[in-house]
Symmetry: C2
Subunit: 310 residues, 2 copies
């Protein structure tokens, strides 16, 4: 099967129900994809490459690999408060396997349905399994949430529970125990799109914490020129009374860490209730330009950096 | 060096001189890149993955690998008549090598200068060398050149010379001879952006012929519901009086094949002169829905398909 036929068979109709809704005029099948642009909006773009046994397990189903590869990119859009519009997939795979490709494209179909976005193009090449996804979303012009606008004396929040996905991952790769929910957190993560959309005008800065809570919080601090004081015991985990540094910094959590003025406390509580998403204050920004963690007795806990890519 | 520092060091300033010109508000360094959208335009998007020893030679310099990886994607924009605006690069590489990365980013810098477009984001991951580039351009709304609007009884044109890059490639991988220009055609291809921009409203359909002239012409025919009759002796090559099928279909030519009504013959000649680009009529479209090739005696030459990806 040549590349043209392969793309026609497995990818040309993925999310095609959402082409009109997202103003995509030409998708898979021409030299380029062509998208009509909304007025009064800005484009929000993120790219993520997922590689076998680094970003996903080779034991995972092709559906889950496909789904997860797109969610990790969508999570960056969530952190910017963007509404997803479309995505492209550059897929490198070792050999033509009809069943695998069918399942992989089924995973993309599920993703398209869950987020109402079409696949608009991409590329297929031969090699070690690797998936590069680019997602495109829109925000009202100037309304995207950046990393760089946190101010001192703001609350630092985190969505959901931390460390769940890592618990799930450990149970998949070893013999440690995990709940179904924890395994699901790793295999089928969710991008916090709805939360990001609600945080516009409320969060001063935001980031997704897939690389580890403290490392990603550090990025907000560096970009905003502020420091942070995190209360370890306030970081929400499900499996210990008081979390360890390693547990809160284990990565793979597609949750949002954000900062917001204390005056927004009650509206953030309302958002949390409305969306059914746990949102917890874990600390405060300050003028120090460093990230410090304190235990329940007020003693400083030495901080290592989060997940290193190289 | 962690990923954040690596991106800051080698990639954060690539093409940054063109950020304002292309209305990019946030580039490398936040969760997502943010681009203000022009009004009255549509987005034109293309994605290409380049893999070592399939799409480029491992003997090539990092500068040339980087440059070539972006041009192959820009060539698709050229075929749509789009003006390039920005690009992202997802780079997978085996190990941290400061000199290699510096040279690779120099290649991107050269590309950014040549096409006046900034690098706006991407991803870096560890693995076998592979580069996925997404390029974004704009056309006036509804003006992009598609594959699907060719009509019967139009001229079929091709830009430049065919088979040059393949000659260059063969000399790089074996001991066959090639001119410096042919080697350059392979190592430092050019995307025919200026030509694409001038063909809007003139070409009824267009495609870049990187997969091989006949295979790519077949895509125009399929998408437009027309057939094509190609005169082999009219296909412009530099190294034979009469080209062979293999020579015109060797791939790696980042030239444009397009169709246009005979009434546009003189304006196309003018464009050719103005841009200093050879543009040749190689055949005619018809109602047959097949691509046929004829030799100088009017005898049909059996056609094989072009380069197969799998």
């Amino acid at each position: 099967m040549d590349e043209h036929a392969l793309i026609q068979t497995y990818f040309s109709d993925v999310g095609s129900a959402y082409l009109a809704e997202q103003d995509v005029r030409i998708s898979v099948g021409d030299d380029s994809s062509i998208i009509s642009l909304p007025s009064g909006k800005e484009s929000v773009v993120s790219v993520d490459t997922s590689i076998e046994n680094i970003h996903f397990l080779d034991s995972m189903s092709p559906e889950d690999i496909a789904y997860r590869s797109v969610v990790v990119a969508l999570s960056d859009l969530a952190a910017c408060g963007a509404s997803p519009a479309w995505y492209s997939v550059a897929l490198t795979f070792p050999e033509f396997d009809e069943i695998w490709l069918k399942k992989f494209s089924d995973g993309l179909r599920r993703l398209s349905d869950d987020y109402r976005i079409p696949l608009i193009g991409g590329d297929t090449t031969k090699g070690k399994l690797s998936i590069t996804v680019q997602v495109n979303g829109y925000c009202d012009t100037g309304q995207s949430i950046l990393r760089s606008n946190a101010k001192p004396n703001e609350n630092i929040y985190v969505s959901g529970l931390i460390g769940e996905a890592h618990k799930g991952l450990k149970s998949l790769t070893g013999n440690s125990e995990a709940t179904d929910g924890q395994v699901e957190s790793y295999l089928k993560p969710k991008a916090r799109i709805d939360l990001g959309l609600r945080l516009k005008g409320i969060a001063s800065a935001a980031i997704d914490i897939s690389d580890g809570l403290l490392q990603d919080l550090k990025h907000i601090c560096e970009a905003s020129g502020v420091g942070a004081k995190v209360e370890l015991e306030n970081v929400p985990i499900s499996f210990n009374d008081i979390p360890s540094l390693a547990e809160i910094n284990s990565g793979d959590d597609y949750e949002i860490c954000f900062t917001s003025s204390p005056k927004n406390e009650s509206v953030i509580e309302e958002i949390s209730e409305e969306l059914g998403i746990k949102i917890t204050v874990i600390g405060k920004t300050n003028n120090s330009k460093i990230v410090e963690v304190f235990d329940s007795e007020g003693k400083e806990v030495p901080v290592e950096s989060g997940y290193k890519h190289f």
